[in-house]
């Protein structure tokens, strides 16, 4: 019985390891590309060990796009966006999940429906609008349009639905104000969901490409994906540089994820609510 369990556990582990390797391989391969010469991406058999070109590739990349400036732009935009959007979306989600009010379903449905409009269709009017506001090539042109992100509202609402309404009512009877209930009682127990939502918001903004490309127009304002895209000319691509850029652009999200993922398990220990 015990050995059988052990076999089960080991085979489970093997499956997970294979899955993880499949997930990770392209990243490993890109990182290797960052340490080799441009043409080595195509060598046969494939190059799978690090080379010695990393510093040179990074130097070239820095010359092409200015890594620190681009990194600052991306970090500033993604962080500001994540904080503001998390706040705005969670508030709205709380109203949708825990209150009955006229217009609730209509507003919620409109949010949902807007998520269904393909973003390519809204680019041109949004651009027109930003031009009229004289906001082209500014940070707010990139940050503001999607602050009320239906995805985040929806995700938070689904998680808030599971929050016991009786606790809110009990707090009301105790005389707590609505804001106190929201900040002191509801939010603390939503940490796993908030962490997940924050990750998605950050990820969305960090990787966002088309709108920043259209809205930003000078090199000193570019975000990482837009700057990386400038490395693709008609016929000359330095793959070493590109792979260095791809790898560097991935690091902040990994850090962000590692910082927040602890929250996923915190709920298991049982918060005050349960």
């Amino acid at each position: 019985m015990k050995t059988q369990n052990k076999i089960k556990k080991v085979s489970l582990l093997v499956v997970l390891i294979i899955g993880a390797l499949v997930s990770l391989f392209p990243f490993y391969w890109a990182a290797i590309g960052a340490t080799n010469t441009s043409g080595s991406m195509f060598s046969k058999p494939p190059t799978l060990i690090p080379g010695s070109m990393l510093m040179e590739n990074i130097r070239n990349l820095d010359e092409s796009i200015g890594i620190s400036r681009v990194m600052f732009n991306s970090l500033f935009i993604a962080t500001t966006y994540t904080i503001l959007a998390l706040f705005i979306c969670t508030m709205a989600a709380y109203a949708f999940a825990k209150f009955q009010f006229p217009g609730r379903n209509v507003i919620f449905t409109i949010f949902l429906l807007s998520m269904m409009v393909p973003y390519h269709a809204t680019i041109i009017p949004l651009f027109k609008m930003m031009a009229a506001l004289n906001w082209l090539n500014t940070y707010q042109a990139v940050i503001l349009p999607n602050l009320a992100y239906p995805f985040a509202i929806f995700l938070m609402r689904q998680n808030l639905l599971a929050f016991p309404t009786s606790l809110i009512e009990a707090a009301r009877i105790d005389g707590a104000g609505e804001w106190k209930i929201f900040f002191r009682i509801v939010l603390p127990s939503m940490k796993p969901a908030l962490a997940a939502t924050a990750i998605f918001l950050f990820l969305y903004q960090w990787n966002s490409f088309l709108w920043p490309l259209i809205a930003l127009s000078t090199t000193d304002m570019y975000t990482f994906p837009v700057a990386l895209s400038t490395l693709f000319g008609l016929s000359r691509i330095d793959y070493g540089q590109v792979m260095a850029g791809v790898t560097i652009a991935t690091i902040p999200i990994i850090i962000f994820f590692l910082l927040l993922q602890r929250q996923f398990i915190s709920g298991m220990l049982g918060s005050a609510v349960k």
Binding site: F42, I123, T138, T230, G233, I237
Partner: protein, 434 residues
């Protein structure tokens, strides 16, 4: 209630803060003349063209010290997404100067008739004769110039000397596609290398070069669909002959062609002169192993001149600096020294005829085994036929690629082209020839 206001206030304050942190205002195209009468031109271009434009401005400033340029480096396809958006939004947020590939000029100028400055009105016609005839035609829409010719892509077969020698094939003796087919078979047998690479299902550069060589294209000069012409069928059948002899290496996209170039798995690559830059960058350790010969003819003594790619400058209308932009571009396009710098430092093959008299064009290239490759490219320029792209080029390309994919997946080439021509007629309301 109070807290609600403070929360709203927080959001508003952060928005305000953001507004404060805005970057330089380069969005509205022209940053005006500013203090001291300085004019700053804005431009969108990709890759090496950015450097060429900046260098040209430095040369220009010797005579015109009060003009500056700010060039934004963008991905090639990104330029078009931004340009299309700005034009569709009514001509906002556009630069003073934009680089556009020749095959897209007609599409933009026709779809947005008020979107670009008519260069003929500014007097460009006087300069027209400085360029080869096909470049002239490509820059015009309905008889007016909307673009200033810049670089071109005279065609050639970039080949590996080592593979050719190993198989005992002499590149100089290849005159027709059939010669090349035989040579390819020999090379494959001796070395295992394919004759040429092709992304069979996603792009058709070789087919386009063949069409151009045969004096036709997707459309003819009247704008009729020409995919069913004898020439088009002949070209596609020739490609299929290579396929049946297993001489075409299937590659994926641009990266695939580069890959095949680097790993010595193809003996030749038919492309425009601009591919030189890719070869010396990516296959840096193969110096001396390369050579170029003209595209083989379809029959002995037939036309071997062809062109693939090339781009020109356009001036979006409505900017404050139209005049200044025109003057600078005119200098850029018609000054041999500028074109020479673009060629020497950035590998951009000029289309300005007088540039070809420069010494560079008779010099030997070490990477290419001492061959006078630039002379070979330059000498065919006058004979290149005009590819009639029209404003429906993007749809034509879409259908031609499908025809090629069908042919490579086993359909009869003539039938595949006929079906494509019919779909194209349906989508563009154009007539089919024959």
């Amino acid at each position: 209630m109070k807290k609600w206001w403070s929360a709203t206030g927080l959001v508003a304050a952060s928005a305000m803060m953001l507004a404060g942190c805005s970057g330089t205002d380069g969005g509205n195209g022209s940053s005006g003349d500013g203090e001291g009468g300085k004019t700053t031109l804005t431009a969108w271009a990709w890759n090496v063209n950015v450097g060429a434009l900046n260098d040209a401005m430095e040369m220009y400033q010797e005579e015109n010290p009060d003009v500056e340029i700010q060039v934004e480096d963008l991905g090639r396809l990104d330029v078009y997404d931004k340009l299309s958006t700005g034009l569709a939004a009514g001509g906002v947020g556009l630069p003073d100067i934009v680089l556009v590939e020749d095959d897209r000029i007609g599409g933009y100028a026709t779809a947005f008739p008020d979107g670009f400055v008519n260069l003929s009105d500014m007097g460009f016609d006087d300069n027209a004769d400085l360029f080869p005839s096909f470049k002239q035609e490509l820059a015009q829409v309905d008889g007016s110039y909307y673009a200033m010719p810049f670089d071109a892509g005279p065609g050639g077969m970039f080949y590996r000397r080592g593979l050719f020698e190993q198989a005992g094939v002499n590149a100089d003796e290849i005159e027709t596609w059939d010669d090349f087919l035989e040579a390819g078979k020999k090379i494959k047998e001796e070395t295992g290398a394919f004759a040429m690479p092709l992304d069979k299902f996603k792009d058709d550069p070789t087919f386009r070069m063949m069409l151009n060589q045969l004096g036709t294209y997707y459309f003819d000069e009247n704008g009729n669909i020409d995919l069913t012409s004898d020439e088009a069928v002949m070209a596609m059948e020739k490609l299929i002959e290579f396929e049946e002899a297993e001489l075409i290496k299937e590659v994926d996209g641009w990266n695939g062609v580069v890959s095949a170039t680097v790993d010595n798995s193809v003996a030749a690559i038919p492309f425009g002169a601009w591919y030189y830059g890719t070869i010396i960058d990516q296959a840096a350790d193969s110096s001396g192993d390369w050579g170029v010969f003209l595209l083989p003819a379809f029959e002995e003594g037939g036309n071997r001149a062809s062109n693939l790619g090339g781009s020109s400058w356009m001036i979006p209308a409505g900017g404050e600096n139209e005049e200044a932009a025109y003057e600078f571009l005119e200098y850029f396009s018609t000054t041999p020294e500028v074109q020479l710098v673009a060629m020497q430092d950035y590998g951009l093959f000029p289309s300005l005829n007088s540039t070809y008299e420069e010494e560079l064009f008779t010099s030997e290239d070490e990477f290419f085994g001492g061959q006078k490759i630039w002379e070979l490219f330059a000498n065919q320029m006058a004979d290149v036929e005009t590819p009639y792209y029209t404003e429906d080029y993007a749809i034509g390309l879409d259908e031609a690629i499908k025809a090629q994919a069908d042919a490579f997946n086993g359909m009869d080439p003539a039938e595949a082209l006929k079906a494509a021509a019919e779909r194209l007629a349906e989508r563009t309301d154009r007539e089919i020839n024959n």
